[in-house]
Symmetry: C2
Subunit: 293 residues, 2 copies
Amino acid sequence: MERVGFIGIGLMGSGMARNLVAAGHDVVVWNRTRSKAEAVAGATVADSPADVAASAGVVMICVSDTPDVRAVVEGDDGLLAGASEGLLIVDHSTISPSATVELASRCAERGVAWVDAPVSGGPEGAERGTLSVMVGGDPADVERARRYMDAYSGAIVHIGPVGSGQVVKLVNQVLVVINQLASSEALLLAQAAGVDLEATLRAVEGGAAGSWMLSNRGPQMIERDWRPGFTIDLQQKDLRLVLDMADELGVALPGTALVFQLYRTLQRRGLGGEGNHALVKALEELNGIRLGD
Amino acid sequence: MERVGFIGIGLMGSGMARNLVAAGHDVVVWNRTRSKAEAVAGATVADSPADVAASAGVVMICVSDTPDVRAVVEGDDGLLAGASEGLLIVDHSTISPSATVELASRCAERGVAWVDAPVSGGPEGAERGTLSVMVGGDPADVERARRYMDAYSGAIVHIGPVGSGQVVKLVNQVLVVINQLASSEALLLAQAAGVDLEATLRAVEGGAAGSWMLSNRGPQMIERDWRPGFTIDLQQKDLRLVLDMADELGVALPGTALVFQLYRTLQRRGLGGEGNHALVKALEELNGIRLGD
């Protein structure tokens, strides 16, 4: 096994890096705020992404958005500044598919391989090592990456060439938010009609109306528990990537666009830190109705 | 056990009436087209709903829409024309919740009880006796109805007073169609981006993006198999009930309204007999993209 680097020790990255160490890998980490990197027991802390690239054969990235990945890869002390031919970069961030293809192509000119591997499953999944990973890249690169990703993944699905992992992650987010819209309109209608919300949920969730969102976030919505599994601010960042991609492709997605606008009203009200199931609050505000009243 | 009547021997009613006979009940049936009633082996065929009411203690109705139920109950030869005090009417049709409350109230003046009990599970569920039933009515009436409904039901959930079964059925339909919109936009985006649709489905269906619609109709959409589990025309009839109820309650449901408009374009193109998952064809037409191309 090669030495493995990990860039971005945030909510997700800390669990993933810890699981790499626990699986017996030789791990070198870097984070903008150094103290978070130092908190990964058993890992070496590097001074820059360039240093990570100089000492590792494979480097994972898990940061927030497209500009962050660009900075980590192409910045002054970025990965490419320290990389030798044969380095493999595995990007676990959720970023633009077209930017991914562009970055991978510039890396390829330097003999550096790229695998895009956005994840779902949240911080709990990272800590338990049960993340779902949607992967784009050349088959040999994906197999090489899999030996390390196994340390924190439950399911690794190879979709196709570089960029296709990011595409599927964005497709995933379209489903998540529109299923959330369905749960919101359904519970709002039930509330307006005065039926018992828990009995309603129980009656419909097992059939053709069922979804992960309804069964997992519906009870939270009924109890007005807005603690985030995934925040509205992060959801909007991903929806912006969806709508940018749809714009590049010239595709109209009316439902997704509607949800983006509704989340925008919640951000404006200062609710961006609440869970994405607080979408129902936008419909509550429009209608002057509150679940549970 | 009392003699049980069954009005409406259509796609759903034929399976339900057969299961009543199979469970050993004494069954009397009526249908507008008499030959369909005669096809229920072991049941007595009546000449009118009034005749059914005169000879049975409990009468099930399973017809298409609100005006059909009104005609069966209040028409010249309707149930009320033959009913004695103590009759129980169980309405398995999906109709207007407010019309349900109104009909139940007029029946109550005559000493006739009403239970609204719309079903989900389709003709297969009726035939196999595994329907899900969402029930509104007084507890004693619901318990009396349950002894008969058990012959064709998998799950019977008592929601609350008369009308609440219809409300929950409409809430169910909101979930069904918006989850279908989610599947449609997601697969369309994947198609536009050129990723493999089956790999995409496999990668996302098990997580937070999952829904019954995606797992059951997604593969049909990818194969362009538009055979109906539930037709667009029937879906529109139910969505009209949803939007009428929302209008009566003064509630805005932007996602549901969007889906109603999209289905309208498919009906206009003569596709009302296709399955509700053909919703994606409206987005295909808008975007000039076809799944599977």
